[in-house]
Subunit: 253 residues, 2 copies
């Protein structure tokens, strides 16, 4: 199953969710591959892989290598990773003239997708060709939403884009869930946005809500998932709960 | 003086800074124009202008209209605005084949820039052609930096990109300052990032630090600047202080 973590709004917790959900799924015995689709490479550096001059997502999309050769196996209870470097930014312009420019990633994942239970794609804050490639290659998406004002602004545009991709390129695409992140129950703003989302998108919302929790932000700077950094923290419990909910929602009844 | 608010990292407070700094400068008697360079149009909706089917930044860049006609005069102590709508996302692909594709905005601002003390450009979280256009048209940049781990990651890439623009397209480009945003003195993480920035970029840092302050996040949902929403809040005082510092730094000695 291929899942995109997507929202063109910046700083809503896409990378944090890809990293922590990926690790939590591994801890539940699942085989997981993370692919960094963002030229910023935040997911790659969270996993401590930015220094290695390892080939990565750019080569996956541009060269004719066997995709398996690009997968990094990491030590410990961690997912496998295809890292991203700044060269990935060049792909969007280079592939403009390709015949099948929306399907490049989908083609490459044909063999890889069956070796994992979950392939998770961390997208950049934009709706450019890299993100379109991720959507075309995906079975499902998870949309992290920060409980703040601008969060609601972009959501309808994002759902519209997904509908276009579903109609023209990938009929299997669907929304696994909308994930509230950095939720602070003490703030009226958080509650207002939550109520608004419940009113309009109730059945799409994950039951799990990720609270604002400094352990989540701190753990990344130590190169650890929040579960490995502080297992008893609210952030760790929320991401473990999310992993269980993802398994539940993605397993055919 | 044309100033870009820029950082390809998402959610660091670019739009919030463009909006509140713009209003604070107007309150100090300056003539200010805001231009929304982000197809998401968050700045446009913060100013309540998203509904109007007004022409905006896309027309500024694509048509041969007199730029003056695209300026919206807003009621109250607010800056003027050139709004952005989703059509702006098309510009990056449409202008790829243009001869002078990096200078499109710079050319258009030739006449407008002299009618204002400050023209402030709110950029999207990417380093694509829209953002390059903003840098080529700018005298200075302000880089909002959230006091968290990923913040340091992208800064060196951003400064590198600016150097490339300065060398090849716009020799006057310089950094007005690095602005710490959402700083929370109670968090070790905030202090660590602050110490790191002071160690490497001390003379580039603004004296003013914008604290994490819920009034800042709340004010936007009421379409108000934080000064108009709650003048005595820490956020309002910080943005007023920033406006003074910007005036000080930008006035020739
Ligand atoms: N639950 C949380 N509690 C506290 N801080 C969080 C939480 N989730 C994410 N953060 C912090 O918020 C910031 C933004 O998160 P992140 O970088 O994952 O967002 P993103 O959507 O991937 O950003 P971009 O749009 O730049 O890709 C980071 O500094 C991260 O550490
Ligand atoms: N000082 C602050 N205190 C509290 N919240 C803040 C502060 N500054 C910004 N925010 C909130 O943080 C979120 C991100 O801010 P904003 O949208 O301005 O960032 P941005 O860099 O423009 O994002 P993007 O990369 O998507 O353009 C918003 O919900 C905003 O209300
Ligand atoms: Mg990210
Ligand atoms: Mg913005």
């Amino acid at each position: 199953m291929v899942i995109s973590i997507i929202n063109q709004k910046g700083g809503v917790g896409k990378t944090t969710t890809a990293f922590n959900l990926g690790v939590a799924l591994v801890k539940l015995g699942k085989r997981v591959l993370l692919i960094d689709m963002d030229p910023q490479g935040n997911l790659t550096s969270a996993l401590g892989a930015e220094e290695e001059k390892q080939s990565g997502t750019y080569e996956l999309l541009s060269d004719d290598l066997d995709p398996q050769e690009l997968v990094m196996k990491l030590e410990g209870q961690l997912p496998d990773l295809i890292p991203a470097h700044m060269d990935l930014a060049g792909f969007e312009i280079e592939c403009l003239t390709l015949e099948n420019r929306e399907y490049v990633l989908d083609d490459k994942l044909q063999s890889l997708r069956f070796q994992y239970d979950y392939v998770i794609l961390d997208c950049s804050p934009s709706l450019g060709l890299l993100t379109i490639n991720a959507l075309v290659a995906s079975d499902d998406v998870i949309v992290p939403i920060q409980c703040e004002y601008f969060a609601l602004e972009g959501l309808s545009k994002l759902l519209e884009t997904m509908q276009v991709v579903k109609t023209n390129y990938n009929t299997r695409l669907s929304v696994l869930g909308l994930l509230l992140t950095m939720y602070d129950a003490r703030l009226a703003l958080s509650n207002q946005v939550y109520e608004e989302l419940k009113a309009h998108f109730d059945e799409m919302l994950f039951q799990t809500i990720i609270p604002r929790n400094v352990k989540v932000a701190e753990s990344v700077s130590f190169g650890l998932s929040v579960m490995d950094y502080d297992q008893s923290s609210k952030g760790a419990m929320a991401y473990s709960e999310l992993a269980n909910e993802v398994i539940l929602k993605s397993t055919p009844a």
